[in-house]
């Protein structure tokens, strides 16, 4: 039995125990912190999966929110339309089984459809160089969003109510654990070292027998799958989704987490995701401290202003993020200009 798999199993069991015992209390008394906790979990899934593409494989995807949207709307469609039919047919089975089953199926469907989207986007796009790939993935994200915006069945601009507030700690952090396990188990194998070679030096990688395109597509599809799952979890968490929630800024959100964490460090990215999720709270607290001049208060409370400044400062001072490898950043074989 593989040690890694054992750890994952133990972690999931532990989560189940925690969830069964404390979830009710948390959701009730500490509702606010509970919400933040769930959001962190979802962001961890998004960031760790994107890290596989941006961090380990060195590709630059700016459309992660698009895959999240596919997952969210697929999950919503399942729960709103198909699941009631199934549940009606299985009317013998009780409450919790039905709701959890609904969530699991909607997650799987969301993930699979998002993975398919990842395949469709990935295969043609991955011949493109860095900045071009960034723009194309951005474009695809926007196309997905615009398509949803123009689809009445999915609620268009009005948004879509999702039947069933089923997301809980177990599923959120369980899937986060599976996501982390997936990325780490892939990367830390002879096969998976190939991802890093694609990032380091594509020409040398090909010369050593690595099919770089296959690796890029694989990373894309796996990442999209988990983004879809994150979307499904999100849909059943907020119980209401709109296309605006999956726009370019959302993609940038996740990208910042990956960069802050250090591209290619799963641990760093997890920490960064948690940190950036609670950042608005930190800023709010900071803004109201006694020694903060009123002029800055308003600025601090504006999350996007702080975000963008953080991004700029980070790139200027420490582009490798918290846990990244500084020389890996400098050595990337992307065309630079002489001084």
């Amino acid at each position: 039995m593989s040690r890694a798999r054992l750890s994952l199993g133990a972690f999931l069991l532990f989560l189940l125990a925690v969830s069964l015992t404390t979830e009710g209390v948390l959701a009730g008394t500490f509702a606010y912190y509970y919400d933040v906790l769930i959001t962190i979990g979802i962001n961890v899934i998004l960031a760790v999966s994107l890290n596989l593409v941006n961090g380990y494989t060195g590709q630059f995807s700016l459309g992660h929110a698009g895959f999240m949207a596919v997952g969210a709307y697929t999950a919503a469609s399942w729960s709103n339309h198909l699941d009631p039919v199934i549940a009606g047919a299985l009317s013998g089975i009780g409450g919790p089984v039905a709701t959890n089953l609904c969530l699991v199926i909607s997650m799987l469907l969301g993930g699979l459809l998002a993975a398919l989207a990842g395949l469709l986007v990935g295969i043609p796009s991955l011949r493109l160089r860095g900045d071009y790939l960034a723009i194309v993935t951005l474009g695809f994200g926007e196309i997905i969003r615009t398509a949803i915006l123009n689809t009445d069945f999915l609620g268009a601009a009005r948004g879509l109510s999702v039947r069933g507030n089923y997301t809980n700690l177990f599923w959120t952090y369980g899937l986060a654990g599976i996501c982390v396990y997936t990325v780490l188990s892939l990367v830390n194998s002879t096969y998976g070292r190939g991802f890093l070679t694609v990032r380091d030096d594509e020409v040398a990688a090909e010369a050593m027998g690595i099919n770089t395109t296959r690796y890029k597509v694989a990373a894309f599809v796996v990442a999209a799958f988990f983004a879809g799952i994150a979307g499904a979890l999100y849909a059943h968490f907020k119980a209401f989704i709109t296309p605006e929630g999956f726009n370019f800024f959302r993609s940038v959100d996740v990208v910042v987490m990956v960069i802050l964490g250090g591209m290619g460090s799963t641990l760093g990215v997890i920490l960064a995701a948690a940190l950036l999720t609670i950042l608005p709270e930190i800023l709010r607290a900071l803004a109201h401290t006694s020694f903060m001049p009123p002029a800055f208060q308003g600025l601090l409370e504006n999350r996007l202003i702080v975000y963008s400044l953080l991004l700029i400062v980070l790139m200027l001072t420490r582009p490798e993020g918290l846990f990244g490898d500084p020389s890996a950043v400098r050595r990337r074989l992307i065309r630079t200009r002489p001084k």
């Binding site: 593989s2 997936t182 090909e206 010369a207 050593m208 690595i210 020389s327």
Partner: protein, 258 residues
């Protein structure tokens, strides 16, 4: 290891209006150590790139083991048994010494992402096997004690050796070495010469060597091709090449005084 030789048949490659290599033919036989020399810019690395699939010949054919390689992607050609090193060392900077070699085993890997995820017995067995083989290779070249060092921390000579080890990990039948002696001291070059001969015997492969240092080439190559401005100007045994007036003129730019 017997194999039909590598053959370049009248290969020409043009980039826009520039003809980098014209009508170049060459043969590398099984277990042969062949040299490819020429002044700077002659097109030697371009020939390598044609063989390994980085460039596609505009005209002519590259045949290996009876198979036509034109148009195949580099990783496919590597799987068919041709490995190379680079003029400017191109190791994978974010990987350790061990991982640089280990990743080259991907070319003949039995397991895929599914197995890496599930981590079953078969997967773990193959991983153990790969680790053993990689360490064995590193040991032969005296690099095993550095196995967990980041490859870019190695001294220059060790990095060059590592690049060769990495190429050998793909179990090639033909090894292309692109100026492996560049930047080496005379002692290091002597060691390199012995190393290349050792590799050729121990691993039973052919070696095609591009090199600037005449002593290295003349010392170990059985046959030499000379390229100038993309055209073959001489071929033959080292002694003949050494005295060939066309070769001397190409390198010095003028006829030697009689």
């Amino acid at each position: 290891m017997t194999s039909k030789p590598l053959e370049l048949q009248n290969c020409t490659i043009r980039f826009g209006g520039l003809t980098a290599v014209a009508n170049f033919s060459m043969v590398v036989g099984p277990r042969e150590l062949v040299g490819l020399i020429g002044p700077n810019g002659a097109g030697k690395t371009t020939v390598f790139n044609m063989i390994t699939g980085v460039y596609r010949p505009t005209e002519g054919q590259v045949v290996f083991n009876g198979e036509r390689l034109n148009g195949l992607k580099p990783f496919v050609i590597t799987a068919k048994g041709i490995a190379r090193t680079f003029q400017n060392i191109r190791l994978f900077p974010s990987l350790t010494v061990f991982d640089n070699v280990r990743v080259a085993f991907n070319v003949h890997l039995a397991h895929g992402p599914r197995h890496a995820w599930w981590r079953g017995a078969k997967f773990r067995a193959e991983e153990a096997q790969i680790e053993a083989k990689a360490l064995e290779l590193l040991k032969i070249f005296n690099l095993d004690r550095h196995r967990d060092v980041m490859c870019k921390s190695l001294p220059y000579g060790d990095q060059r050796r590592l690049e060769i080890v990495r190429a050998l990990a793909t179990t090639p039948k033909l090894l292309l070495l692109d100026e492996p002696a560049a930047g080496m001291t005379p002692t290091e070059k002597k060691n390199l010469m012995r190393l290349i001969e050792f590799i050729q015997e121990q691993f039973d492969i052919s070696v095609l060597l591009v090199e600037h240092d005449m002593r290295v080439v003349m010392g170990i190559c059985r046959r030499i091709y000379v390229l100038d401005h993309g055209i073959k100007i001489a071929e033959g045994a080292p002694e003949a090449i050494r005295r060939d007036p066309k070769v001397i003129e190409a390198y010095l730019g003028e006829e030697p005084e009689a």
